[in-house]
């Protein structure tokens, strides 16, 4: 069961775990990415493409499901304005085998950073606004999965 969502609403981890976990799968791996409050950041805004962002997440989810033996996969990305501590992204993968769940989870979060139409904009307490630049390491981590 694949569940993918792009939403302006807060991500409810407990609710997502409940939705996901109906089958009592052997192993689940998850990743939660949150807004960090470093350097007096007051707001993180996530820009997206109404159709392509959701399609990009769905493509990634199906790529993971093709590559690993997964019994369930949840991939939720928030968009719009959020504040430090709020959840930006939640990935949850389940499999009879722990190695498959762990690898799929890591694949999804790595490729999310390079393959999906999402852009972060930071606002700071002094009023500065800055679009986040991709980090070198993001491409390197994402490319590991091309082998």
């Amino acid at each position: 069961m694949i569940r993918v969502a792009v939403q302006p609403a807060a991500i409810d981890i407990a609710a997502e775990l409940d939705l996901h976990d109906a089958g009592g799968h052997g192993a689940s791996a998850s990743f939660i990415g949150r807004v960090r409050g470093d350097g007096d950041l007051t707001e993180l805004f996530l820009d997206h493409h109404p159709a392509m962002t959701a399609a990009g997440l769905a493509d990634l989810a199906h790529a993971a499901a093709d590559r690993w033996q997964l019994s369930a996969l949840t991939l939720i990305h928030r968009v719009g304005a959020m504040v430090p501590g709020e959840t930006i992204v939640f990935v949850l993968t389940s499999s009879p085998h722990r190695a498959e769940a762990l690898a799929a989870c890591e694949f999804l979060i790595d490729r999310l950073k390079t393959d999906v139409m999402l852009w972060k904009r930071e606002t700071f307490v002094d009023g500065r606004v800055r679009w986040v630049e991709p980090r070198e390491g993001d491409g390197t981590r994402a490319d590991r999965w091309n082998a």
Binding site: D47, V89, L112, T114, D115, M117, W131
Partner: protein, 85 residues
Amino acid sequence: MTLQIAYFAWVRERMGVADETVDLPAGVTNVSSLVAWLAARDARGQVAFAEPQRIRAAIDGVMMGLDAPLAGAREVALFPPVTGG
């Protein structure tokens, strides 16, 4: 040829519009030449597309390289490298 163009992130901010419909002049046949034409068209385009190597594109919902041809395209999206996750 008529083309819809959508802008995202700082490209949208610098262009001052989220999307527009343009009549492509002859010679604008791929994403690269579209970016060059927009950069030359006015002051906003000059700022938005000052560094074409920082621009990424999607044609009708599919991410494409800057050498992708525009023939048959309905909508082109122009944006910076993505930073989700």
